[in-house]
């Protein structure tokens, strides 16, 4: 027993001491490799493999699965040419699956979840004549692996449009004297305090603010991408805290169903939730992956290169505004959305226009974002130019992580610096408990 305890303490000590040693830096690769040009494969011989995190019971994966089927159909591939792999964990299972797909003769392999990235890169390095594509990833533009690509969409534009619909609904409720303009507060159920979510809710808020200037917003996190109960409970907490309208960035129907129960309008994401909330659903935005999937399959048929990092837009059909529920939406919403789309296409409207928001009371003129994502968490790219924050231009995955005024973020997770301490305090606590257990054990024995 004593030996065991000593060993435990020794390990603890070693861990404790080394924690204080500073982080080591990651060396930057300096030579730039161009994206690979695939060898053209006849349409009849091409094989495409898709890797999904869950099966179709998750709205997130369903969106990808439907896009994959639609893309294959529109190109004219038969069932044997499309291999769909669901429930692929964000672990070595992703590498195994990708490698298996390559062994089966796939020319194009696509994965849909953020956590798949490092395993896709590993497979891409091994199978150099197969093209690998990964949605929501951040590393392709710095990794220099010629056959590995990332993609995302400028969904912040879609969120902005959905925000306009939300703001107009608030205006309607203010006009109907349901609450005052000062009380116009929206609630937002977020998954994680991650740039993708922050960028999404900020653009949503700015869209609402563009039509309802007094609006404020409260954001709460579930710390999970898919957790029906947590999302529902969080939406209910926001409503109880005075939020008049709810939107969300999470994959379940938790928030829409809470809204329907409490009769609070809801702006949805990833797909229409009109069936869940016929009396509360206003509008939804989503990323349509079909154009990208069509493009990557076609590229391998034609033998053309795809950029490392591709951002879908409204123009490419990747950013979509889904059915507007006229029973709930304010009058003139469709016209306002259409007008904004025109401005986006003309390049006269920018979501993150620095004259439209402040950070700690100040208008920003410069911001360094961590675009390269080398694991250093240090911003290195100037992203504010020409009076607006250039989102999804330096890489497809969002990097807008500013907390702007008017939005309150409620988070119950420990913040950055104190976080490290948590681990150091936690470990001895656990070991202490165990030691106590051993002492109790020994005492008992002595008594006997």
């Amino acid at each position: 027993m004593k030996k065991l305890l000593t060993l435990a303490l020794a390990v603890l000590l070693a861990v404790g001491v080394t924690t204080f040693v500073a982080n080591f830096s990651v060396a930057k690769a300096d030579e730039k490799v161009e994206p690979a040009t695939p060898v053209a494969v006849a349409k009849e011989n091409i094989k495409v493999g898709f890797i999904f995190l869950h099966d179709e019971s998750s709205t997130y994966d369903l969106n990808f699965i439907e896009a994959a089927r639609a893309a294959a159909k529109s190109i004219g591939l038969n069932d044997n040419q499309v291999i769909l792999r669901t429930n692929v964990e964000e672990g070595d299972a992703c590498y195994d699956t990708a490698a298996e797909l390559a062994d089966q003769g796939c020319n194009v392999i696509f994965a849909d979840s953020f956590g798949h990235e490092s395993y896709m890169i590993k497979a891409a390095k091994e199978y150099t004549n197969v093209q690998f594509y990964h949605a929501t990833g951040t590393r392709a533009h710095t990794e220099n692996v010629a056959n590995y690509h990332n993609a995302f969409a400028a969904i912040y534009e879609g969120r902005y449009l959905a925000g306009i619909a939300a703001g107009m609904k608030l205006n309607e409720m203010i006009a109907a004297e349901k609450f005052t303009a000062a009380e116009a507060k929206m609630g937002y159920v977020g998954a994680f305090p991650y740039a993708e979510v922050v960028s999404g809710y900020t653009s949503f808020y700015l869209g609402a603010k563009s039509v309802c200037p007094t609006v404020t917003m409260e954001v709460r996190y579930t710390n999970s991408w898919y957790d029906l109960n947590a999302e529902k409970a969080t939406a209910e907490a926001l409503i109880a805290n005075g939020c008049k309208l709810i939107s969300q960035h999470a994959d379940s129907l938790g928030a829409p169903s809470a809204c329907e129960e409490k009769k609070v309008p809801n702006v949805s994401y990833n797909g229409s939730t009109k069936a869940t909330g016929p009396n509360t659903y206003i509008v939804s935005s989503k990323i349509n992956w079909e154009p990208y999937m069509k493009m990557i399959i076609q590229a391998s048929i034609d033998g053309t290169a795809i950029p490392y990092d591709w951002t879908g837009t409204i123009a490419t059909g990747s950013v979509q505004i889904l059915e507007l529920n006229n029973a709930v939406a304010a009058e003139g919403t469709q016209a306002a959305i259409d007008a904004a789309i025109e401005k986006f296409e003309a390049g006269t409207l920018h979501v993150f226009d620095t004259s439209k928001f402040t950070v700690k009371g100040e208008t920003l003129t410069s911001y360094l974002a961590d675009v390269d994502d080398l694991g250093d968490f240090v911003g290195e790219t100037e992203v504010i130019k020409d009076g607006y924050f250039h989102e999804s231009e330096f890489r497809s995955a969002p990097y807008f992580d500013l907390r702007i005024d008017g939005i309150t973020e409620v988070t119950d997770t420990p913040q950055n610096e104190s976080k490290g301490c948590g681990g150091i305090v936690g470990a001895p606590a656990v070991f202490g408990l165990i030691a106590l257990g051993f002492v109790a054990l020994n005492k008992k024995r002595n008594i006997r």
């Binding site: 070693a14 994680f192 922050v198 710390n223 681990g423």
Partner: protein
Amino acid sequence: MGFIDHKEKTVREPLFQIIKRDKDAIKLWKAILIRAIAIFGAFIVISILAWTMMKIDPITFISKMFDGVFGFSTSSNRRIWITVRNLAILLCFAVALAPAFKMKFWNIGAEGQVLMGGLACAACMYYLGGVIPDALVWVIMIVAGILTGIIWAVIPAIFKAFWNTNETLFTLMMNYVAIQLVKFFTDIWVKDGSGTLTTRHLHNIKLPEIGNAYLLPVIVVATLTILMFVYLKYSKHGYELSVVGESENTAKYIGVNVKKVIIRTMALSGAICGIAGILLVGGINGTVNTSTAGGQGFTGIIVAWLGKFNPIYMVLTAFLLVFLNRGTVALNLTNNAFSNIITGIVIFIVLGCEFFIVYKIKLHKKSKHDSTKSNNFISDKSAVTDAQKEET
């Protein structure tokens, strides 16, 4: 069927009688035959289901299943390797559970014990990676992983030994604590807020490969399986724990320190779970998340039960489950409900066939005179519990 309606005046002969077999009465070839028939029958049932529900004809269905497991259609032998590696990992869970279950300590906390072992391993990778040489990190993370697995298993064991708490609930709850701890540390370590711990956060540390990427877990688990077989069958410890499982009072009477045996056995169980965690986190995935154990802590129980807590039999039962899991993947379905259904059906039928190994069915020839027995549904009321004992 076998029941007799007592209200009837004329006593009728039951159609058949279910009799418990004497211990070891069944011949080995018969037992094997019964199981083979069950597995064959199960495959017929699931083939019919696939045909009617999913419109996959039986030949395609079976050949695709085999292809998914062995990879006949692919250019490399990677699939066999993945199958063998998955088998090794599932077996590792089952081997860890076997001694505890044989002691009738219902440890359903393997999931949590493995996660904690993996988390400790990840903690070493996170804090020590890049600071000290990788080889040293390997040593420390192996020690830390095993220790943490032991700790997570010994806590409920201590409570069981001294205060007779319910170990089923306790170990189950410990799973949830472990899952939340993994979430907590992921939040601490992942500074970009994505909630996804990548291999890069853990400094890309990985246990060395032996031969190829799949062999290391196979070797480790094969060794553990043999050692566990010897431990349970030939060692004094193994004998003691099976006595504790049969009857605590008997154990006390013959001078076995029951508390010590409970804690020692669970420590062993936890240590092997810790090893599984190290293999998963340090050897295979290079990262940890809440689904690292992937429900195998529970599947492992089925494997151990079906294998009658004999590590060698468990290889076969683990293979059956891995076969179903890997085989259904090749069916190209986007809804995993069907694969869960057929796995459930196969397990049900295979478990069910054990009935015919423990009991014998005696068909009666029609005769009007024999009325000695009126209710023969199960001739021995305590047969079920006896059957369990016999198995151990």
